[in-house]
Amino acid sequence: MAIKIIKKGISDTIQDIGRYGYQHLGIQANGYLDYLSARLANTILGNPTKSPVFEIHFPASSFTFTKSYIICISGANFVPVLNEKSIALDTAIEVKENDTLQFLKPIEGRISYIAIQGKIKEEAWLDSHSYFANSIQKDDQFEWEARPTMNKKMLPGNETITSLIINEIRSHVFSTSPLHFIPGPAWKDLTHESQKVFLSTGYHIGMQANRMGYPLKGALLQLSKPNQYLSAAVTRGTLQLLPNGELMVLMADHQTIGGYANLGQIILVDLPRLAQASNQTSIHFKETSIETAHKLYQQIEKKFIHRS
């Protein structure tokens, strides 16, 4: 095998874009928490945009390579070091046999992605390598089939995406401006006062945040009716109001259905921003329309497509 875990992180996984088409069977979609940083790493290496990557939290796993690869680390800055020498983010980097990759310290963001150039040698389940019950353990081994043409093609001087665009994506992902949301089925059931509070006060991410959901701490909200609904499908980014008045944002490993008040959804392009926010970040919300949400989504898609 070619990539070996020599130290286990708190909750590292392999993720790709996720698995769609099976939620009616209760099978979760899973997938990247921050699709933009994962995509950035894959794009820099010339990989297909939805390829599997290592999704790393802090304290992070440590890796040893038993074969040469070209890798790219994007997303959070956990101070990656290769053989104890610090390496750059968002840059194609060559690793050689016996090189060791570690992460020292969380400086910015919550989730880092390691993309490996080539194709993972592991069987997908229902077209995806993401699965909610798998986390990376010590001594696990992974192998990527490096592209025959890999060589130095993606190394500095042969970029597949300009540094201007890399910076634009990064500043979007790490921006602290309000998160856009579209009101959902139970928004109208919030008291008028609670609607105002939600739109005007700041929240911060609670300690229990994980791949299933991020609890938000801040002003409690109230419904004008009992918080009891027949379960209906939920999506990533759903703002659920729990019976105690606290908010929970459903993330990539959310269950397929939910029975709590569904206040609305954070739009797709803003989910990476919540995913990467620190516990100290003050999170504000701003109502938006479907038209604006789709426009923002397409603007970011274009950055990746019209790279030069």
Binding site: Y20, G21, Y22, Q23, H24, L25, G26, I27, Q28, W125, L126, F181, I182, G184, P185, Y229, L230, S231, A232, A233, V234, T235, G237, T238, Q255, T256, I257, G258, N262, G264, Q265, I266, I267, L268, I290, A293, H294, Y297, Q298, E301
Partner: protein, 258 residues
């Protein structure tokens, strides 16, 4: 029945009717699901029925790249309404569907028909032995009813699957008769064995895999109701009709697939 169309964020729509747990409503959701599936739109990623709702998850880029988006003013809401119109027309046998061109709905999939043609009953063996039905005693004490009566009542009823969730393959079925209804445990067990059959209020369900869980366990099925093998996956879907039948402990051991 009044249909409502709502946005669920920027990549899903919800079709819904009055919030009610009923056979008529869930079969209507299944009919709408089949009707939409028959169009084979490549931008639709999921159609998830649950009680009184059907949720459609779509790919934004593929939607805007499609012909049907252009026919609907590049509006996902207009598209959703067109789907409802097409469905209602199919249901009332109207031939022309103006907003969805070239796509005549198959009458076999109309809501009228599939409402009558509820799928055949799936029979599932359950061993209600107290070694497996570890919470039977709770129902006996709380509801003042014998174990024999609980088994008779639980296995006499035909249940309908209203939705799947919680875990891959976990089906929420109802309605459980009042005399054996019981609230879930105040705090969930750390591990419930795969195949365990439980009751929570008016619903009954089967744990497809070992998992934490709060339902009151009355027995266990020896059959795998979910298999990771892509050719098998879940045996149950929303709209299915289920009946349980009692088996002995020795039959359970013989049939046990776990």
């Amino acid at each position: 029945m009044n249909w409502q169309l709502q946005l669920l964020g920027d990549h899903a729509l919800v079709f819904s009717v009055e919030e009610k747990m009923s056979e008529e409503i869930i079969s209507k959701m299944i009919a709408l699901k089949k009707n939409i599936e028959a169009f084979h739109f490549d931008f639709i990623k999921e159609l998830i029925p649950s009680y009184h709702t059907l949720t459609l998850v779509y790919d934004i880029e593929l939607f805007y790249g499609s012909e049907i988006a252009k026919e609907n003013n590049d509006s996902i809401t207009d598209f959703g309404n067109a789907l409802l119109t097409a469905f209602n027309s199919a249901a009332t046998n109207v031939e022309s569907v103006s907003s969805i061109k070239n796509l005549k709905s198959n009458n076999d999939l109309s809501e009228k028909k599939s409402f009558i043609e509820l799928e055949k009953i799936i029979r599932i063996p359950v061993c209600y032995d107290e070694r497996l039905g570890i919470d039977l005693e709770n129902i006996v004490l709380k509801n003042k009813i014998s174990v024999e009566e609980i088994i008779k009542i639980h296995s006499e009823e035909t249940y309908l699957v209203y939705c799947l969730g919680f875990l891959p393959g976990f089906a929420y079925m109802g309605k459980v008769r009042e005399s054996i209804q019981i609230a879930r445990h105040a705090s969930p067990r750390k591990e419930v064995a795969a195949g365990s059959v439980g009751i929570a209020g008016m619903q009954t369900g089967i744990y497809p895999m070992n998992s934490p869980g709060g339902w009151q366990i009355i027995g266990r099925t020896p059959l795998k109701i979910f298999d990771h093998n892509p050719a098998i996956l879940g045996k149950l879907e929303a709209g299915n009709q289920i009946q349980f039948y009692p088996i002995s402990f020795s039959e359970f051991e013989k049939l046990n697939e776990y």
